[in-house]
Amino acid sequence: MAEITLNGIQKQYEGDQAPSVTDFNLDISNGELIVFVGPSGCGKSTTLRMIAGLEDITDGTLSINGNVVNQTPPKERDIAMVFQDYALYPQMSVYDNMAFGLKLRKYDKSEIKERVENAAKILGLTPYIDRKPKALSGGQRQRVALGRHRSESEGVLDG
Amino acid sequence: MKSHSKISALLSALFMGLGQIYNKQYIKGLIMMGVGLFILITFAVDFQHAMWGLTTLGETKQTIDGWDIVQGDHSINLLIYGLIFLIASILVLSAHVANVVDAYSVGKKREIGIVPNGIKETLKTMYEKGFPFAMLLPSVFATAFLIILPNLFGVLLAFTNYSSPNHLPPKNLVDWVGFDTFIDLFKMDMWSSTFYGVFGWTVLWAILSTFTCFFAGLFVAIIVNQKGIVFKRFWRSVFILPWAIPQFVSILVMQNLFNGEFGPINQLLLDLGILNERLYFLSDPTLAKITIVVVNIWFGFPYWMVLMSGVMTSIDKELYEAADVDGANNWQKFPKITMPVLMFSTAPLLIMSFAGNFNNFNMIYLMTQGGPVNTSYQGAGSTDILISWIYKMTLEQRQYNMASVVSILIFVIIASISIWNFRRTKAFKEEDMMS
């Protein structure tokens, strides 16, 4: 249930001469799958990071579900993101990786368990649920990264 | 339209928190005013006296009349208290600037119609934006008072005449003398010849001790990490011992071991037939220098061994496999793969270690006390390095100003060597490092 609107988004890094992203407009409706394609350094990641709230937006407005979220910290945007390197917490097991966000959002234990196990089943991770990320193959890690957001949010950005 | 930004900035500049109140951030403004008031009361009154002390270093000497002792101005204390206030006032000033900037930017927002944050939102943004500053605060305070202040004091002493016998407080006042002491160091034969001599040896010592330990550690690490050596952990644990034992203990032990007449080392070498006659390890100027460099390897190699072992085990195996595929043998792999990686990742530590050895006070002071004597030096012995010479000057001869001059020179030398080197290492150039 998420709609994202980018209106004249601009990103200017301090010290850089030219802005990284200029006047970018985009409407993403619910259920839509969007792919950014382009040479490296053209601002794909920057845009995603701005949507997620990891970068400040220099100019323009970003709205999710009709609310301007330029100033909203990432955790309140209800957005998920899979990073290029998956960004799994190495000190936590697969289960804890997937449950981390839910715990932070104060779900109760039984519900966390249910959601995580459900996600693990769908992604075929049930046998590895107690392993640390280090002991997984690349593909398995990718699935964990996906899985940790499956249960909690609606919109998924794949960095 | 009124210029809220300018008005509020002006008000805040006038007194902390006023601008915030003008911006209708009442609670925040009041808290800030409270802080400002507190600073004013505890601080501003003494500030003037502190600055007077810092600039004049006092005007009245101690006087004694019969049984009445009247303490005058103690120049050194005035200098330090002046500095404490100076540093505190820099911290206060930066807080004040932040206060003005804050008032200005809130005012600016008001001008474009954004309602200023209430106390709740303020706290929230403070947490969001101010987190790194909060994390830094304890260290900034500790650094300012425990490191910057003492060092600044040390630097300032070089510009005074604080020395025995005629300029010791409280009976005498200390005065600012500008660069006189620096000029003395280079103009007076006695001081300058000692300085050049000691300086030369200090540089040599720093280079030798750093590189001998570096290569000794490297060599041991290579041997231990070879394929086929068993009990690697055991060897490493044994070789780490010299590092673990308190240095002042082991240096004193070494001093006894290397006693020319009674030390067991000489006896052992004689018994084994390696030597025909005794070596006077610590009483011959050249031999003493060699001895401390060699003894220093014992102390220093474990550090590098541990470090190199760590780096070596973390080198990507694929690099070696690729080399194997290319048909490289062991003798080729080492200089082509291992060495560059080692050098690359240890270069910054090598520089730090150089700086550390430059100031390796314990080693010299405990091992030889600077001896054997060097008749052409002033207050220093053959193995004295700059730092141990300074120690003697301050504690034994009370030439505080001259000691400070030499300290400054040490600092300038080390800092320039280090910065020059750091600039050449990749770590320093990385955008992330210094941006």
């Binding site: - | 005007e59 101690q62 010791l168 407080p169 409280p170 006693n259 004597v373 008749t375």
Partner: protein
């Protein structure tokens, strides 16, 4: 600012007045009958200031125990509480400099007398105002040693000098002259091998404190002038001093061919304890060590030089000083006086074995019958108090260096001592700025 100026003018005025008073006080002593009215203020009976509390610094160990006993008795008598803190006496001057201005310093502290010059220069110590009646009680050296350029400061506790220790098992009759000593020692050393070393004599050659005895014996001196305080007249390159250097070289060549760096105090002690050393030159601080090791030893004067003179060892005076930072100078003076009363000094001898500085205490039977102490007492007659002027601090290092160089054969005595003198001269000139 204005007030401060007025104040300083007043204070200077007061100072001049007091100086004048002091001068006239002195003349009053000389012509006492004619000017009885101008009796110096010091003679007034001292009372501790109301509410005074005192802090006393002394060494730890036995000296500390004695200081505590003194403090307890003093408190009983004057009802002034005294807190005793441990602080090594040779570091005290330095620590008073740092701690004094902060109010954490002592009111009375123990320091060696050769720091008097520096302490006087920095104004760390308060004059001993008790006058002649007090100073007359002590041996001369104790008073000259604790007198600075301007005033007398110290409250002497003990005097010490070094002398010749001999192992009674190895020496039947201690040598009276160096000639005898050389003969005995060479005889003894004949049995010495690399594995089982024996030495006739050991001393720390690089320490000018020791070397000065020979220098003085040959007529050399550090500073000339009446009281040995004329810093313009340096005597370390005088004929006597060079002769002394040659003699020291002879000791090295013929008796103790070791390097200065290899001869450490603890080593000498253990050689002596093991009966492998006939003679050593050292001070009373080693008595306990050798007694504990159950060595049968005696102490006597240093052997006579070929010119028939007994070497003039340096003597040191251990004394209490009243800190100029004290809030209660009267109470502090009283405490220092009390601690240096004959009774307390005898007690100090009993507890620490140190030779008391007061004439009366030296006359007690116990001390007279103390053979070891007597040995030191005999040497003390020939001893010279270490110069206590600040300039002396510029002498120790170069002089020690010169004798080390002579000993180790790095330089001829003449060369080494001339160099040292130049060095000292330069240092002193540099400091006069």
């Amino acid at each position: 600012m204005e007030l401060k100026k007025i104040f300083s003018v007043l204070a200077t005025g007061a100072l001049t007045a007091s100086l004048l008073a002091a001068c006239s006080g002195e003349s009053a002593n000389k012509s006492a009958p004619t000017q009885p009215a101008k009796k110096p203020a010091e003679a007034v009976k001292l009372e501790p200031e109301a509410g005074a509390t005192l802090k006393l610094w002394d060494n730890g160990g036995k000296e500390g125990a004695w200081a505590k006993a003194v403090a307890a008795e003093f408190t009983k008598k004057y009802s002034v509480p005294v807190k005793v803190e441990e602080s090594a006496h040779d570091k005290a001057a330095e620590k008073v400099d740092a701690a004094g201005p902060t109010g954490k310093g002592p009111d009375v502290f123990h320091a060696p007398h050769d720091h008097v010059g520096n302490m006087e220069n920095s104004g760390a110590i308060f004059e001993n105002k008790l006058g002649k009646a007090y100073t007359d009680r002590f041996v001369d050296a104790a008073i000259t040693g604790t007198t600075g350029k301007e005033k007398q400061y110290g409250f002497p506790l003990a005097v010490e000098t070094y002398a010749l220790y001999y192992n009674k098992k190895l020496v039947k009759e201690p040598a009276e002259t160096w000639e005898e000593l050389f003969k005995q020692a060479k005889e003894f050393q004949k049995g010495s091998t690399d594995k089982d070393r024996k030495y006739g004599l050991m001393l720390e050659p690089g320490n000018y404190y020791i070397a000065h005895s020979i220098v003085g014996g040959y007529g050399g001196y550090v500073f000339g002038g009446k009281n040995g305080t004329d810093v313009k007249d340096l005597g370390l390159d005088s004929k006597g001093a060079i002769q002394a250097g040659e003699f020291v070289k002879k000791i090295h060549d013929e008796l103790l061919p070791l390097k200065n760096e290899d001869i450490k105090g603890d080593l000498i002690s253990s050689m002596f304890n093991e009966g492998k050393l006939m003679y050593r030159i050292s001070g009373p601080w080693d008595i306990k060590n050798h007694q504990d090791a159950k060595v049968d030893f005696g102490v006597t004067t240093l052997p006579k030089l070929e010119n028939g003179k007994v070497p003039t060892s340096f003597s040191g005076i251990k004394a209490y000083y009243v800190s100029a930072y004290t809030k209660y100078p009267k109470a502090a003076t009283l405490l220092a006086e009390f601690a240096t009363s004959d009774e307390m000094l005898i007690k100090r001898y009993e507890m620490t074995g140190q030779m008391p500085a007061s004439k009366k205490a030296l006359e007690t039977d116990a001390i007279k019958n103390d053979a070891v102490l007597n040995g030191f007492a005999k040497q003390l007659k020939y001893a010279q108090p270490m110069p206590n002027i600040a300039e002396m601090q510029s002498v120790w290092e170069p002089a020690g260096k010169a004798f080390t160089a002579i000993w180790n054969g790095q330089a001829s005595p003449k060369e080494a001592l001339t160099n040292a003198t130049k060095d000292i001269k330069g240092k002193i000139e540099n400091q006069q700025k």
